[in-house]
């Protein structure tokens, strides 16, 4: 029973959306189910925040290794939550001055905006910026042209890396019909032109094959879930 009802819910939700796609009469029910899904997605954010609170509170109370950093997480989380939910520093909307909570939560100058602009934005941007360093290090340590396949991969990478900057344009700018008329048959070898061909022919072909394969995989997985053949999402008995 504890697993049967969820399986029925899964099947009902999924098949309703599939049927609503084909039968316009049921479209409004499909819309309803999707809107409920959208609302639940927001509640899932609360679940995520709650889980974070639970984990880090446990670290702090157990005084486990690095609990000081968990305290930092907790303080940042609670402060951001308080100023965000409380709309601290956000004046009421000019259209409704009598309603203190009517202003937009992200109003520039408000406390929540401060945390976004001077904590969230620089931190999240810099964490991603670190990837540039790691890709350089990985390029030096891992990329070896050991066989034809690796050579193809690296060769294409070089053409793209050069062709998508001015270096590529400079490198093959001598293939110019105004210098020698015979070059008119070889303009396709200019790196920036070669890049376009590689992307529009080979990359398209390869990614299309991958996309078709993934689509079939997703269809199979979705059907297995909807028909109750895959119950892993229900967890342990």
């Amino acid at each position: 029973m504890k697993r049967l009802v969820p399986m029925l819910i899964t099947a009902a939700g999924g098949f309703l959306l599939i049927v609503a796609y084909f039968i316009p009469y049921w479209q409004s029910w499909g819309e309803k189910a999707t809107i409920w899904f959208d609302v639940l997605a927001s509640i899932a954010f609360i679940l995520g925040g709650g889980n974070l609170l639970k984990v880090h509170l446990k670290h702090v109370s157990d005084r486990s290794r690095g609990w000081g950093y968990s305290l930092v997480v907790l303080v940042s989380f609670l402060v951001t939550l308080a100023v965000g939910l409380g709309k601290v520093g956000v004046p009421p909307s000019p259209q409704f001055p009598a309603f203190a909570w009517s202003g937009p939560y992200g109003q520039p100058g408000g406390a929540f905006w401060f945390l976004y602009e001077y904590a969230f934005k620089p931190l999240t941007s810099t964490i991603f910026a670190m990837l540039a360093f790691y890709i350089a290090s990985a390029a030096f340590r891992a990329f070896r042209a050991k066989n034809l396949h690796a050579f193809l991969l690296l060769g294409t990478a070089f053409i793209i890396l050069l062709g998508r900057t001015f270096a590529g344009v400079l490198l093959t700018s001598w293939i110019d019909p105004s210098i020698w008329s015979g070059f008119q048959y070889f303009t396709g070898l200019r790196i920036e032109v070669l890049t376009v061909y590689i992307m529009s022919v080979f990359t398209t072909a390869g990614n299309r094959a991958i996309m078709i394969g993934i689509a079939l995989g997703i269809v199979a997985t979705s059907l297995r879930v909807l028909l109750g053949l895959d119950r892993s999402y229900l967890g342990k008995e």
Binding site: Y21, L40, A41, N51, W101, S102, L148, F158, V201, G235
Partner: protein, 316 residues
């Protein structure tokens, strides 16, 4: 290790001295934020909009006693905090250290709460509370709500109940309760994706691959376009043969699959090239922030230029 510590201590001291020198003893200084005070007549409050040092210079050149454009201590402190956070994260490249761990902790806490706050104000209040009890929502946070969208719709009790059941996951007892909303989420996701992937990534891709292998353009046969189309179709088919693992890749099938691998290797090489491009732009942004917004060493967008000010003063 002692030598390394000494070198880093020296670098840090020199860095601090350079920062103090630049901030306090140079003509332009560094790392200051300016705002423009805009009174809001309806509420009597003052709104502070982001402004620039250039606008401040322009206003002060026109009127020494003006208070519309002013220095903002709060935002300046925020800017320096942002710069130190940036450097703290970059310090991880040398080695893990407490500054990085603190920055990471702040990021985790702030981003989790940020998502919760945004979800609350953009969906839970207007799309859940306002549908179940419009009068409460109108009296509190969305007084502007009106029209057909402000009508009560008790069907929204369903996601509310499912949401409460989902949050039950946080409690130690009754983990099975959270399965119902999870099942709903999984079911709707599966239903949505089945059709979308089948239509957009399977059928449409087959349709997109049906291209003319002999392109007749105007009067003549376009050789290059025909060759491109032929290579495209052949590439897709060879790639698909490679992914067909139910048949052993031997003989003709093996050779075709091998050609498929070549096409995939070119695809991955192109993906690597684009990924490199993407990553570097992200680093460039952060370094621009440090050099432009914080250190005031470059001014590509001319936010601190007073030349416009002098020109405008001359005109008035």
């Amino acid at each position: 290790m002692k030598r390394e510590t000494a070198i880093w201590a020296l670098v840090l001291i020199l860095g601090v001295v350079a920062l103090i020198g630049r901030a306090a003893f140079t003509e332009t200084g560094m790392g200051r934020e300016y705002v423009r005070a805009v009174p809001v007549p309806e509420t009597g409050a003052t709104q502070y909009e982001t402004s620039t040092y250039g606008a401040y210079l322009q206003a002060t050149a026109a009127d020494q006693t003006q208070t519309e454009y002013q220095f903002s201590l709060a935002r300046t402190v925020g800017l320096w905090v942002a710069a130190f956070f940036t450097l703290a994260v970059f310090s991880f490249l040398y080695g893990d250290n407490p500054a990085y761990k603190i920055a990471e902790g702040v990021l985790v806490g702030v981003s989790a709460a940020y998502w919760m706050v945004v979800g609350f104000w953009t969906v839970l209040v207007p799309n859940l509370l306002a549908k179940i009890s419009p009068s409460v929502a109108q009296g509190w946070a969305t007084p502007g709500l009106s029209g057909p969208e402000a009508e009560q719709d008790l069907w929204y009790l369903v996601p509310l109940i499912l949401g409460v059941m989902l949050l039950w996951r946080l409690l130690p007892k009754g983990p099975w309760i959270a399965r119902w909303p999870l099942a709903f989420i999984i079911g709707t996701t599966a239903g949505l994706r089945l059709i979308a992937f089948l239509h957009g990534d399977f059928l449409a891709q087959i349709r997109n691959t049906i291209v003319p292998l002999a392109v007749i353009d105007g009067g003549g046969f376009d050789f290059w376009l025909s060759l491109q189309n032929l290579l495209l179709v052949a590439g897709v088919l060879c790639g698909l043969v490679y992914f067909f693992f139910s048949v052993e890749h031997k003989g003709v099938v093996g050779k075709v699959a091998n050609v498929g691998i070549w096409v995939l290797m070119i695809t991955f090489g192109a993906s690597f090239g684009y990924t490199v491009m993407g990553r570097i732009a992200l680093l460039a942004t952060r370094l621009e922030f440090l050099l432009d917004d914080w250190l005031w060493l470059i001014d590509p967008v001319q936010r601190r230029s007073a030349d416009v000010a002098l020109m405008l003063v001359g005109w008035f």
